[in-house]
């Protein structure tokens, strides 16, 4: 096949491209430039934070002896991922930008362009197995990324090649080292790529400004503190609440919910975080039929719960066998049958 390898500059995508070459495919590498830069007469400043990654990707392409280009998708990335990220927080939800990037950038913008240019598909370094359109967890449970790929439609999956699903991360690094790829021992990337300093609240404050409001105790209804922006909180958070009124029973309180309408943050005891039922919207089914009994994962690298799923007007209602804690609207609910991804939807409410 004629494949386009998305090469981030990391070890996973490097080995994925290498395995695609080994498998006899005609592979072309692209690095996606996603970071922002002001449009001025000067053009030297674009992608300063990814310059090294672009170079690492280019060096891998040299070693593999494949053509290599850089595609500028910064505008798409800003409008589809970063703006969405900010808007979701502003609406009191907790988005997963990696999932959105897969959905809108890697497997839409890039895949569409690849297909239009005459490629048969896109190869990426995600840790998940994909065989005959069936998406499964990676054999490496710590690195499994099937959760952030579960939003891909069958059409998108049909144009996708994931060579790493049968490998552990350690094996990927060994393969990279054996091939002399300089990225073999490059550290894993963490956090959100467009928030370089890891300060999500600061990033949001810059874009959303101060939005002060009350912190309300769910049990008493009393205002127990003030905050400068509900976007700085996530459901389940305990630390950094700066409450001025202690709870009557003296027990710690947790963030239970965020309400953008009256800018309130509701806090309460740990039991109140427990959720037995989740509503999810915009469902995407990847199996022939929705199984009644399956398992659900409600956040990246989160716990897996046995559950019973019913169809609802807007999507699915998922009843959990055991309660989950700290379920935030905006996260994906991904259904699994064993290690197979059955479908995904977006959490809209939890009770």
């Amino acid at each position: 096949m004629k494949l386009l390898a998305a090469m981030s500059g990391g070890v996973d995508s490097a080995v994925a491209a290498a395995l695609a070459v080994d498998a006899g495919h005609d592979v072309t590498g692209v690095h996606l430039a996603l970071s922002e830069a002001p449009a001025t007469l000067r053009s030297g400043s674009r992608g300063c934070c990814s310059r090294e990654d672009a170079r690492d990707a280019a060096r891998t392409a040299d070693v593999l002896d494949i053509p290599f280009y850089v595609w500028d998708l910064a505008d798409r990335f800003r409008s589809e991922v970063i703006d969405d990220f900010v808007a979701e927080y502003a609406a009191g939800r907790t988005p997963n930008p990696c999932l959105r990037c897969n959905e809108r950038i890697k497997f839409t913008a890039v895949l569409d362009r690849a297909l239009a240019l005459g490629f048969d598909g896109v190869v990426t370094g995600h840790h998940a197995r994909l065989d005959q359109g069936v998406l499964r967890r990676s054999v490496d449970p710590d690195k499994d990324q099937s959760y952030v790929l579960a939003v891909l439609t069958p059409e998108q999956l049909a144009g996708t090649v994931l060579p790493l699903g049968q490998l552990t991360k350690a094996q990927v690094r060994e393969l990279a080292a054996a091939r002399g790829l300089a990225v073999a021992d490059k550290p894993d990337s963490h956090d959100i790529c467009f928030i370089a300093d890891g300060d999500t609240a600061g990033f949001l404050r810059e874009r959303l400004g101060d939005q002060p409001g009350p912190v309300v105790d769910a049990l008493t209804g009393a205002v127990v503190g003030q905050h400068s922006g509900a976007y700085g909180y996530t459901v389940g958070q305990r630390k950094g609440l700066h409450l001025t009124v202690p709870a009557p029973d003296g027990r710690p309180r947790y963030v239970l919910s965020l309400s953008p309408v009256d800018r309130s943050v509701t806090v309460g005891p740990v039991e109140a975080l427990e959720v037995g039922e989740v509503s999810a919207v915009r469902p995407l089914l990847l199996a022939d039929a929705l199984p009644t009994r399956c398992r659900v994962q409600l956040r990246a690298h989160g716990m897996v719960h046995h559950c019973t799923v019913r169809e609802s007007d807007e999507g699915w209602t998922i009843a959990l066998d055991t309660p989950a804690r700290g379920i935030a609207a905006g996260q994906a609910a991904v259904l699994y049958d064993g290690d197979r991804v059955v479908g995904s939807a977006t959490v809209s409410a939890a009770r």
């Binding site: 690095h31 007469l41 053509p67 239009a116």
Partner: protein, 373 residues
């Protein structure tokens, strides 16, 4: 590289000797450098004492722009304005912007017309007593437009302002004579005319004050320090001699090939737009088109896969293709700027290369149009 230049470099490389040394080997190296200086000067219509050897075009541009700015400002602190065309190479653009950011300079970007040309009357309108220098390239690296350098230099001299030109694209392609052009400083680099990479020169009039950027041994006329690269100079001089000797023949051959390419591209892709000067005042080996509805990136990838090597605008250090600032300055919108490709013809280009391009192009353009923006 021209084989004669390779031979000159290799012959000089096997001889030891630092041209600044006083012993026999040093004298031999110095002789290589000075003979190279004389040959380069003769090829470009300059006097040997006007040749300052550098590490290439970027260094020469930086030396001219910053060095002349510093010297002019030192002589009169009011002189802090730089006039530069809006279509300069980044080696000039970024040097100017650095002076703006760090040395209290101000810049006026001289406007260009739709083919990318600066008009002498426009330059005259912007010339004020606070101007430190004027810099306008001899011929544009992207769209190939040749500037009216002699007239522009005359206008600058009406006010006694020094005039620099980046002539990196011009040597071996266009008739070039430093003295006849009237310019005060002129940038050349070897690899653009069959010489070695990393060898260039700044031709600079003896009366033009220029503050050095590199300090040390003052090897080059107190303007540029650093041990002179004798093998590089030998190759640079050999290439310059041949390239200027052959220039009329080269230009005629490339222009004929280029005109054929332009005509056939416009037939193969009727809505393609030729950018730059449609007449003879353009680099003979240059053709530059916009292909409406296509992205230059896509065209490049598809042509590359078919063995046809073309260029989009400039790429930043992470490899991102940027919409050409030259086309934007010429009034193109961003879509048209992103839809453009440069076809460069050089001494290895043949009619068969043009045939291969024309054969591949219609299908490539059609496919590139499938890509959604």
């Amino acid at each position: 590289m021209l084989p004669e230049a390779v031979a000159a470099v290799t012959a000089a490389m096997v001889r030891t000797g630092n041209p600044s040394s006083l012993h026999a080997a040093g004298r031999a190296a110095r002789r290589t450098v000075e003979e190279g200086r004389e040959a380069l000067a003769a090829a470009l219509g300059a006097r040997p004492s006007e040749v300052v050897f550098t590490g290439g075009g970027t260094e020469s541009d930086n030396l001219a722009v910053k060095g002349i700015y510093f010297a002019r400002r030192a002589a009169d602190p009011r002189r802090t304005r730089i006039l530069a065309s809006a279509v300069e190479h980044h080696a000039v653009l970024d040097a100017v912007e650095w002076l703006v950011e760090h040395e209290h300079a101000s810049v006026t970007w001289l406007p260009v017309d739709a083919v990318g040309r600066v008009h002498p009357d426009e330059l005259r309108a912007f010339l004020t007593d606070d101007v430190a220098l004027v810099t306008v390239m001899w011929a544009n690296n992207e769209v190939g437009t040749v500037q009216p350098i002699r007239q522009l230099a005359e206008v600058a001299h009406e006010r006694g302002v020094p005039f620099h030109t980046d002539a990196v694209q011009a040597v071996g392609q266009l008739p070039l004579d430093f003295a006849a052009s009237g310019v005060d400083a002129l940038t050349v680099t070897g690899h653009k005319f069959g010489g070695p990479l990393g060898s260039g020169a700044l031709l600079i009039g003896r009366e033009i004050a220029c503050t050095p950027l590199l300090h040390g041994g003052n090897q080059e006329r107190d303007i540029r320090s650093g041990t002179v690269d004798a093998p590089g100079v030998a190759g640079l001089a050999a290439a310059a001699t041949l390239a200027t000797e052959r220039q009329p023949v080269t230009a005629a051959r490339l222009a004929a090939l280029r005109d054929d390419l332009v005509a056939r591209v416009l037939t193969a892709v009727p809505d393609a737009v030729l950018n730059g000067d449609p007449g003879s005042l353009r680099l003979p080996g240059n053709a530059h088109f916009s292909f409406p509805g296509c992205e230059g990136d896509s065209l490049l990838l598809l042509l590359d896969a078919r063995g046809v090597e073309v260029s989009t605008g400039s790429a930043c250090s992470s490899g991102v293709a940027r919409p050409s600032h030259d086309l934007l300055a010429m009034g193109a919108d961003e879509d048209r700027a992103r839809a453009s490709l440069r076809f460069s013809l050089g001494h290895t280009s043949t009619a068969a290369d043009v045939d291969a391009l024309i054969e591949a192009l219609p299908a490539v353009v059609e496919r590139a149009r499938l890509v959604r923006r």
